[in-house]
Subunit: 374 residues, 2 copies
């Protein structure tokens, strides 16, 4: 094992896949074990002795600095897709005279499918899809919601969140950002920018574990709005078992069913790691390491074609290359300890997560890549 007190990455493994699934921190493992022990020992009493029902809000508060949001604007619950559904339904209620959800062609397909669900609910609602450069011109006062993923899952291209949010707001358009590929990898400024809604996953750069719960951010200005999806845990008093729904104050209203405690416990530990992390420094380090990777591949493996931007501010925290035999290259790299991933038809993605990788990993990864290309 090497290098840091937080993650156990075996010697000889170079884990460049944090854009897909982050590794287990010692804190995440310990917290999960504590959750398990709570269930084993306290059983049903765990709901009170272990404060399990506080976890969605507590983890929301822990996540707030990562989103650049007030600590009462986010909770951890459900999956990104279900949270996106909640946001879109409520956003379309707020902007009830408009029926268009605007997105870009390359938005993550899962988000597009959820938007399609809205059309199945109300045939007047349509998903309008344009290329990224066409977005600004496509924004007009017929658009109800601008739904975008901040960092593209394929080429890592990053939208200008500030500019697009501002343009949208000037036209009365509500913005919903999917931050799955951003959170935990760079500073974000949801509250400052007045972002209306945001969602995302916690299993990539936040290292919450496979399929760890999603989060939902709702700006304070929308907290008076009753969510369309009315969940038991979002009731003002769930254990009054009232027949009629009355929303909880604030972000809690966006809870649905009973939260998945074991998954939340792992995530609690994962988020604890970020208490000592300066996101500006983390991002800076990610850009330096990404540049090192790009420089080394430029000079040693020119057969690969960079599909991510060369401008670090236009990229998220992974770097993507194309090659006709990308799948074979990725298989070789993984077999030799360089954990990257492949996206059909021809993409290799290198995830740069400085919480557990450094310049040595980049150097070794490129050395192994060079060998495998011979």
């Amino acid at each position: 094992m090497k290098k840091n007190a937080t993650f156990d990455i075996p010697e000889g493994q170079y884990y460049l896949c944090g854009h897909s699934l982050g590794p287990a921190s010692k804190q995440a493992v310990a917290s999960l074990q504590q959750g398990l022990q709570g269930w084993q020992q306290d059983k049903v009493k765990g709901w009170s002795t272990q404060f399990w029902l506080d976890l969605p809000e507590k983890l929301g508060k822990a996540l707030a600095p990562l989103l650049g949001a007030h600590s009462d604007e986010e909770i951890v619950a459900d999956s990104t897709s279900v949270n996106l559904l909640k946001c879109l339904l409520t956003a379309l209620t707020i902007n009830h005279n408009r029926k268009i959800i605007l997105t870009e062609n390359d938005n993550f397909p899962a988000d597009r499918y959820i938007a399609h669900s809205l059309s199945a609910i109300d045939e007047n609602i349509t998903l309008k899809s344009v290329t990224a450069p066409e977005l600004v011109d496509a924004l007009d006062d017929s658009v109800a919601v601008l739904m975008l993923t901040h960092v593209n899952y394929r080429n890592a291209s990053q939208h200008d969140m500030a500019m697009l949010t501002q343009k949208a707001h000037a036209l009365g358009v509500i913005v919903v950002w999917d931050l799955s590929h951003s959170v935990g990898a760079m500073p974000l400024h949801c509250s400052l920018l007045g972002v209306d809604f945001a969602v995302g996953c916690t299993y990539k750069y936040v290292n919450g574990g496979p399929g760890s719960p999603g989060f939902i951010y709702v700006a304070r200005k929308h907290h008076n709005q009753t969510p369309v999806i009315k969940g038991w845990m979002g009731h003002i008093s769930p254990f009054a078992f009232a027949q009629v729904y009355q929303k909880a104050a604030g972000i809690k209203a966006y809870l649905t069913g009973t939260p998945s405690i074991l998954s939340l416990k792992a995530l609690e530990g994962a988020l604890a790691v970020f208490r000592d992390v300066d996101l500006e420094q983390l991002r800076e380090k990610s850009m330096v390491l990404s540049q090192q990777l790009i420089d080394n591949i430029d000079s040693c493996v020119p057969q690969l074609t960079l599909v991510s931007s060369r401008d670090p501010r236009a990229r998220g925290s992974h770097v993507a290359y194309s090659h006709p035999f990308a799948d074979k290259i990725v298989t070789d790299l993984i077999a030799n300890g360089v954990i990257v991933d492949y996206r059909a038809p021809d993409l290799i993605r290198f995830g740069i997560a400085p919480l557990y990788i450094d310049g040595h990993d980049i150097e070794k990864a490129v050395q192994i890549l060079v060998k495998s290309m011979c």
Copy 2:
């Protein structure tokens, strides 16, 4: 520790709370640890080496005998509330000329709140709520969906699922059953009865852990219907990342986002326990133990008023009593090792789960109850 190789219940504890949260079986603990190890060691490769993405369907198949359903009619995913939302939206699409959801006044409030969500989505959709005895007369051909919880969370009263399903179908009404308080406690016959949709939780009698994922059952006859909520994991080919949604075949179409693997792993072990369980015998034993409890309380603690039916076939697997000082009695019982629960304003619930309790537990529980009433 006592009695059985499956559950560690400490000596001196009488766990009569399986109707709320089941205890951890050794299999559930081992399976969760295996899942954690898979994440720690394999990281992103776990998706293929550990077959994580197969879990929702695999656990659905393990759950099928508990539901009395074909093995391709259920998956484990999301929470009961989110699954109910999926069912209602799709059921209302199938019966698109009708706009009434019929339920009973005492249905679990969470389910009522989800039905209210439908009215927020489409103001023509209304929740019609009657008393349980009025249900049959309230069924007519204006009703789109009959939405009921099989076993009542308070008094354990059990609906006649066969009769109500048949009456509903005769009038073209789709049935959606919430089986949260039934599954794992008694034989069910979803497929035989032609039940259209069912949902439920797995943290009560199935012992999946606090907030373990819910399940959704959709009868084969509805598998051609495209679900209204279109999730990434319900796409025919999620990793093709196609812009347009195309539903997966069968029950998989009801998946949404990335499944919560750690929670699913605990549940996998919990469900393994049921491989050796005869549900008819389990139910028989539960009825015998419930009768023992009722007889003992009748003779020793007449101050408590039985609110559950005296007919075992009209009850689920818990027995409820009322008393003006129910909260104090429950606090005393718990302090003395008898784990039961309290529901405001005056209910004490005794959960009878023969997987880990027997006649000795009942005897001791009543002895301790007698003492605490002195």
